[in-house]
Symmetry: C2
DNA sequence: GACTCTTGACAACATCATTGTCATGGTTCC
DNA sequence: GGAACCATGACAATGATGTTGTCAAGAGTC
């Protein structure tokens, strides 16, 4: 899938939380919860403003696909990210194969490690997840 | 981990649902729900009585660990089993490493593919999951 | 024949995911 | 410079999930 045609560096943090929320179609409150759960780790400006990169956006798209389309809860998403990091293989690519089979005509399923900008065309096809997810924070005890 | 010292064949279905439930410390109602969700597929006698094997028991131990200790819901467990089958690698072994680090002194973490009987000693250490999980059934739409 | 098994069904309770809202204070940008 | 947006912590509503409990009716087992 093509990279964003505006900014070729997918790790550069450029989006504030309201923009990132619109791109991935979730509520800003939800993005803060994902961060509290250790699933994402957006950059911060010197004045503590969150800035999301294309990597972050792809990661959030995966979270959204897994939770909304596959019904996985956030603990399950965390383990999938852990496995991707620990095994060093494209485990979620196997899932994206299923995505492409069921959701779009794009035969070449992107890997979680591939870069891909939040281009509108790209956003409606299979998400790819960035590499090196942050270490998940332990979930608060009930 | 040693196999069960009573029955060396871990795929032989021998336990009725009440026995399997006692072995894995979950309710028989819960085992029926796991089956409805496509996570397990115990054998049936000619008179339709469920019979669970050691493979089934190990698989259920994994489900219990993932849901109770890691907080993963059943959709997430299903995806982990799918990945294990599709990638053909011991992905949950990476999780059992974490288990052994936090839960018991057994340094050699068993693989999901290893056989292991429901020996009481074995049951209190890291569970291993059987190979070739059944095809998961689609979850009923909300 | 008492107990356990099967099916389908309904329900209670705790937890989770997402969204909404509030208050207070700081930052950005038009 | 002030409107809009950002940050934090906090509480709450709604729908969904996981586990357990129970019921009814019928079949099988020991």
């Amino acid at each position: 899938m093509q990279r964003s045609r505006f900014d070729p560096d997918p790790s550069r943090p450029v989006y504030v939380i309201s923009v990132a929320a619109r791109i991935v179609a979730v509520h800003p409150r939800t993005l803060r919860i994902y961060e509290d759960e250790g699933l994402i780790e957006p950059a911060r400006t010197p004045t503590n403003i969150r800035l999301y990169s294309d990597h972050d956006v792809r990661r959030i798209l995966w979270i959204r696909h897994l939770t909304q389309d596959r019904g996985v809860n956030l603990a399950g998403v965390r383990i999938l990210f852990e496995l991707e990091e620990r095994l060093g293989v494209r485990i979620l690519e196997a899932l994206s194969d299923e995505w492409t089979a069921g959701n779009c005509d794009d035969a070449a399923a992107p890997s979680l490690r591939d870069s891909m900008g939040p281009d509108p065309e790209a956003l409606t096809s299979a998400p790819s997840a960035p590499s090196a997810p942050p270490a998940p924070r332990p979930r608060s005890a009930p």
